[in-house]
Symmetry: C2
Subunit: 168 residues, 2 copies
Amino acid sequence: MKLAEAKQQFISSWGAFGTQWGINRTMAQIHALLLVSVNPLTQDEIMQELTISRGNVNMNIRDLIGWGLVDRVIIAGERKEYFTAEKDIWKVATQIIKERKKRELDPMIKLLGQLENIEGDKKDKEIQQFTEVIGSIKKLGTHADKTLEVLIKADENWFTGSILKMFK
Amino acid sequence: MKLAEAKQQFISSWGAFGTQWGINRTMAQIHALLLVSVNPLTQDEIMQELTISRGNVNMNIRDLIGWGLVDRVIIAGERKEYFTAEKDIWKVATQIIKERKKRELDPMIKLLGQLENIEGDKKDKEIQQFTEVIGSIKKLGTHADKTLEVLIKADENWFTGSILKMFK
DNA sequence: ATTAATTTTCAATATATTTTGAAAATTCAG
DNA sequence: CTGAATTTTCAAAATATATTGAAAATTAAT
């Protein structure tokens, strides 16, 4: 397979993959494009490469920066801003985990905590089952939370082998 | 908080939570409803409870059955079908993991394998970086795949005991 | 075999999400 | 400070996704 074709395929598939996980297709595609670009790109280059509008690039780039996956790069003597993606996949993964945990898991656990205390007869079958289900989801969530916490803090070692240090 | 209110809140939040993870809101809500229902429900009861159409209930119930999260229940002497959800949250979680792995992670790893072999000069910076990025994503994916495989096969001790050891 | 109850399908419709593009805001060189 | 280059915003338009509801198919009782 030729490089250009493979790049296209990767960008397109990464976008589709993201969609299945609740991530905006274009955001995933921009991320993919920056992952396989050796040099930082400008908004115009991204527009051209993916044939999408300026506003779309701008908004999604900002989101990606918010997710900590993309950085602005200032190139001396250049007026335009450039953008680059973290190439160390381990860092990318932990960053995504960290953000989703913060944005979604933590609030869910908090909510479940609020739903645990139900007024009424503790012997009531309905109440019993409800508290049981809520309690166990919360427990599972809390476990996952702690596990991910450790995972994020762990160093790259368990992700066996050395990756991509050359591009940093 | 009253039970009815808490149920409502749980169903609604579970729906919103699902949405963030690429799961149809209604499907998540039906699942939540069945999770907190002591007895199996009919399509009509689900329609009423969530104020959604018959077709919607039917399609999403079928999806949920496809995900292995909901079962048809035959009640002797009753013409209508009843539906119930697995209440053991550990089983629910492993089932979801298993399905998403099969439906999404495995195909992605397969694709990455195909993108790894690029024609051309192996010394070319573009080609080098591309193969490096694809390779490392594939490696991470494979690692996650294996980890989840073990997780799925493990019994509930993972949940109650300490999953954390693995990453230390 | 008939028919009433129930489930399933799917084209049409409604809703939610994403994208555009031009105007406004900002930045910075001269 | 001025104004051209660049970035940002956001209402309107386009697209994608979910939902409806009635007709068709299936099921099971008589």
